[in-house]
């Protein structure tokens, strides 16, 4: 422990304490709850900024207390953690604002925001875990704290979605637990370290390590929605829009992807994993998922469902980048962790805005929404073009590095997958944009609400605009010193250092 450890704890507690307090607030104390939420999110942002600059300067951050016999509950901050924790705290702030606007005048908001804060605590915990057992702890806590958010509406459909979600994630969690225990029985306490920690066993315990890797990928693949473990994701779409936004961009899906990154780079080590022959099957699984998700997205008329299948596809870019050996594809995969987050959260915010303001839930109802809601639709357009990979937006940067990395590694088939996926992305996003901007609006929207000056409630409008600006910035200023890309290059340099 050192002087820096209070910052790590503070990052967790800023949302945990907020959640605790909010549980005990009366339903009517709307103003107090909103300020508490924003305060918690703001404090977290400041602390993360401090952490970011500290880690950049190379200062060590650690915190540990006793947990299991011989295995501490340990937090730490390496370059990977900082990447994920920054993403989640920035997007949490936006989503909090959005959720306050979205849930106005609905019941049980104290319960909602309580679990919402816990969910973010679990996510930041995943980012800051310094060993495998701590990671597992937060990973399971995330499962538990997300459930009440998914079933928040309490309808039959919501409960069914929640049940499917839990069935998938708890079984995934059990498989993950098995992998973690097994690895511990072989190797003793496992801490995350660049270039992995199990090289010594790779020669003698090859078979077992391969099986454990498979178990890891199944356990984490459920949350990362790798085909065929993705079934819960479209069903979980019954959750309120801010929850979907968080689930897809920051919390659950990302936790799975981040876990895969951790296992490959910081437990097995990319070189060792490649030597064990486990990376190639993972790359194939990611490739299949990318194409499959895009194809399914084509046929969804419900906007949120289309976005959900798009997530299935896009998250596997991260996995693909991780599964291909070489610094360039590592950069492509990791940077997409951030890029996919900001793009997808924008899309979900916008989808929520359409639903709340106009009552449109389906792509076929979106004729002319651009004229009624130009700002929202502009944000949607930026994010959708980014997803397709149009330069100079964020998605283009990811795809460019992935492509280059794959070719360097001699995996030409990946170029085909990426090309096909981009075409499919265009095929399911461009028709939406065409409808929104060029088709005439209908005489009546399904259920229209008016919110005064702006096209919708300002709390719903501001977050997607901010995240859309981030999408542009991450692409245009990719090579400046304040961009996700530059940070990711730091990670890659450390992983592949001689």
């Amino acid at each position: 422990m050192n002087l820096h450890s209070p910052i790590l704890l503070g990052i967790l507690l800023s949302s945990f304490v907020t959640g605790l307090v909010i549980f005990f607030l009366k339903e009517e104390s709307h103003r107090l709850r909103t300020w508490l939420n924003l305060l918690g999110a703001g404090v977290k942002l400041v602390l993360v900024a401090v952490l970011l600059s500290g880690v950049y300067r190379g200062e060590p951050y650690t915190f540990a207390i006793e947990f299991l016999p011989g295995i501490p509950f340990a937090l730490g901050a390496d370059a990977n953690s900082v990447l994920f924790v920054t993403l989640s705290s920035v997007l949490w702030f936006c989503t909090t604002l959005y959720a306050v606007g979205y849930l106005e005048h609905t019941p049980h908001r104290s319960r909602f925001f309580g679990f919402f804060s816990f969910c973010v605590t679990a996510t930041t915990g995943i980012a800051l875990s310094a060993n495998l057992v701590t990671f597992l702890t937060f990973y399971e806590l995330l499962t538990v704290t997300t459930y009440p958010l998914i079933v928040h509406r309490g309808t039959r459909e919501a409960l069914r979605g929640g049940k499917i979600y839990l069935t998938y994630t708890l079984i995934g969690g059990a498989v993950l637990l098995l992998a973690v225990v097994w690895l511990h029985a072989l190797a003793g306490p496992v801490v995350f370290k660049e270039r992995g920690v199990i090289q010594a066993l790779a020669g003698t315990r090859r078979g077992e390590l391969q099986v454990i890797f498979l178990l890891f990928m199944i356990g984490l693949g459920v949350k990362a929605a790798l085909v065929p473990l993705h079934g819960w994701l479209p069903k979980a779409m019954v959750a309120p829009a801010p929850v979907s936004a968080l689930l897809h961009a920051v919390a659950v899906v990302k936790a799975g992807a981040f876990g895969i990154v951790r296992i490959v780079y910081d437990v097995y080590g990319a070189q060792t994993a490649a030597a064990l022959g486990v990376l190639h099957p993972l790359a194939v699984a990611a490739g299949v998922t990318i194409v499959y998700g895009s194809v399914r997205a084509l046929f969804q008329d419900e906007l949120k469902k289309r976005l959900a299948y798009s997530t299935v596809s896009q998250v596997s870019y991260i996995v693909l980048g991780t599964a291909i050996l070489g610094p360039v594809s590592t950069i492509g995969g990791l940077v997409h962790l951030v890029h996919q987050g900001i793009m997808k959260i924008t899309l979900f915010f916008c989808a929520g805005n359409y639903a709340e303001t106009l009552g449109t839930h389906r792509v076929s109802e979106m004729n002319g929404v651009g004229r009624r809601m130009p700002l929202t639709t502009a944000a949607f357009t930026v994010a959708a073009l980014g997803m397709i990979g149009v330069p100079p937006l964020a998605g283009y940067v990811s795809k460019w590095y992935l492509q280059k990395g794959a070719i360097q590694a001699g995996e030409e088939w990946v170029a085909l997958v990426l090309g096909a996926s981009s075409l499919l992305n265009a095929a399911y996003f461009l028709p939406i944009l065409y409808r929104a901007w060029f088709n005439p609006p209908p005489e009546h929207w399904p259920a229209e609400h008016r919110f005064g000056t702006w096209e919708t409630n300002w709390m719903l409008l501001l977050p997607p605009l901010v995240t859309a600006v981030l999408v542009i910035w991450a692409g245009v200023f990719a090579e400046s010193s304040f961009s996700p890309l530059v940070w990711v290059k730091l990670v890659a340099a450390r992983e592949y250092a001689p």
Partner: protein, 496 residues
């Protein structure tokens, strides 16, 4: 204060308080609170001494074995005493308001007998965990059975009385088996003192028979599959604090004696086959209990079947701790699960009591929207559920982690499969309840008000069940003192 005094306080305080509470019913509540305080202090003191000086023994009035009564406290005893004290304190607090808040003369009548019986039960448990010979264990076991059956009968309903009679029958015949076994052991070895029996290290057909008789009686009392039939009706029909006591503490007594017999007194008889049989019965209990819990119409029955399942986990300790590699891991893991289950199960039964109280029934399918009227209780139920499922960082997780680790290190993967399957089934029956609780209803019924202490106690125990995972290194260290199994607590270690 010497350890002798601490042990004496642990047994005499509840005993005297029980007598006083019987004579002066009005004082029952305060006597229980006072007892809880004294026992808390005495246990803490005894624990300190055991940590500092190792196993503590005391010969009552100076008479040694084989004639005198010897009190003995090692790490295992102290752990059991701590668990008993924790649950005892919680029940003493919860019951301050439980009977009164029913606003009914019948309930007050029940309360009159509840306090002396509860304190007597506490006496029996403390005496059981401090006894060092198998005959004294018999006496305390009888006291325990008597208190438990009478407490159950307090509910006064037809269902409760039927269950109590059945429980009484099982309990008495099981005691008889146990006593027969004790007689045989005495005839063979000439002593009933646990350390002396261990020192003799004898075996032979007569001892096999004796041990089989005792074990049969004890597993019936501990409700191990397939002798668990009496448990669900008994635990489901008792008043809420009694259900909690029965599930969290009473069934643990006979399990504790089984550990003492097989691991301490007659380790030579613990062949791999015997260990595997215990494990197989435990595995069957896990699966059978969990599957049954899934289909129970009433919440309290669900929780009772969950007890059947969770008791099964404890018996996995036999095949895993008997092995040399990772034996101590399994030993401490199993005992941590015991403590975890005690906290979680008490929280659950107290929650069920609150729900029964507020809604007037505990039919799971009619509990839609109960979250909106009892948020704290449902939250407590969920937290306790986390520990039963074994999600980290709960104490249930810590226990399962150690058992899983030991099983994998020994290559006994079949227990791994059972444990993981059991966890998933536990998740299924807990979510089944929670899903109803979260269902939105348009017009929530106005519930009967619940005193805050009743919700608070349930929540406190549930929180404890979750955070006690962090106490696992401490528990392992405590269990080391005088443990009959050895070995490291961490496996592997090839990674720097």
């Amino acid at each position: 204060m010497t350890s002798a005094w601490a042990m004496a306080w642990l047994i005499l305080t509840p005993l005297v308080a029980a007598a006083l509470a019987f004579a002066f019913p009005r004082l029952g509540r305060s006597l229980a609170l006072g007892t809880a305080g004294v026992i808390g202090l005495a246990v803490a003191h005894l624990m300190r001494l055991v940590f500092a000086n190792g196993v503590q023994t005391h010969l009552v009035s100076g008479w040694g074995a084989p004639l005198g009564i010897e009190l003995r406290a090692d790490g295992l005893s102290v752990l059991m005493l701590i668990v008993t004290a924790l649950i005892g304190v919680a029940i003493a607090l919860y019951s301050q308001r439980y009977f009164v808040s029913e606003h009914d003369d019948e309930a007050l009548h029940r309360e009159r007998y509840f306090w002396p019986l509860f304190l007597f039960l506490w006496t029996a448990l403390d005496a059981l965990y401090l006894s060092a010979d198998i005959f004294n264990l018999y006496v305390t076991l009888e006291m325990l059975g008597f208190a438990a059956v009478t407490l159950l009968a307090l509910a006064g309903t037809r269902a409760a009385l039927t269950a109590a009679l059945r429980y009484l029958f099982v309990s008495l015949s099981a005691s008889l088996f146990y006593l027969l076994g004790v007689g045989l052991v005495y005839g063979q070895c000439g002593t009933v003192d646990l350390p002396s029996l261990a020192a003799q290290a004898r075996s032979g057909p007569a001892l096999w028979v004796a041990l089989a008789l005792m074990t049969g009686g004890l597993i019936a009392k501990a409700a191990l599959f397939p002798l668990h039939g009496w448990l669900p009706p008994a635990h489901a029909n008792a008043p809420a604090p009694v259900s909690a006591l029965l599930s969290a503490l009473v069934v643990k007594g006979p399990f504790y004696i089984l550990l003492r017999l097989w691991f301490e007194a007659f380790p030579a008889l613990m062949t791999p086959a015997v260990a595997q049989v215990f494990g197989a019965l435990g595995a069957a209990a896990i699966l059978w209990g969990s599957v049954n819990a899934l289909f129970q119409p009433r919440l309290k029955l669900l929780i009772a079947y969950s007890t059947v399942a969770q008791l099964g986990y404890l018996f996995l300790l036999f095949p895993l701790a008997a092995s040399r590699e990772g034996g101590f891991m399994a030993w401490s893991g199993g005992l941590m699960l015991l403590g975890a289950h005690a906290c979680a199960k008490t929280a659950m039964f107290l929650t069920a009591g609150n729900i029964l109280h507020a809604a007037g029934h505990d039919r799971i399918k009619d509990l839609d929207g109960i979250t909106h009227v009892l948020p704290v209780s449902v939250f407590a139920f969920g937290l306790a559920g986390m520990s039963l499922i074994g999600l980290p960082p709960s104490s249930g997780f810590a226990g399962k982690w150690l058992l899983l680790n030991a099983a994998l290190a020994q290559g006994q993967w079949w227990w791994v499969a059972v444990m993981i399957l059991g966890s998933l089934l536990a998740a299924a029956y807990i979510v089944r309840m929670l899903a109803h609780a979260f269902t939105r209803v348009n017009e929530p019924k106005t519930p009967n008000p619940i005193p805050p202490v009743m919700e608070g106690t349930a929540l406190a125990l549930a929180l404890l069940a979750v955070v006690l995972g962090f106490a696992s290194p401490w528990a392992a260290e405590l269990l080391r003192v005088g443990a009959p199994v050895v070995g490291p607590i961490v496996m592997g270690g090839s990674v720097p």
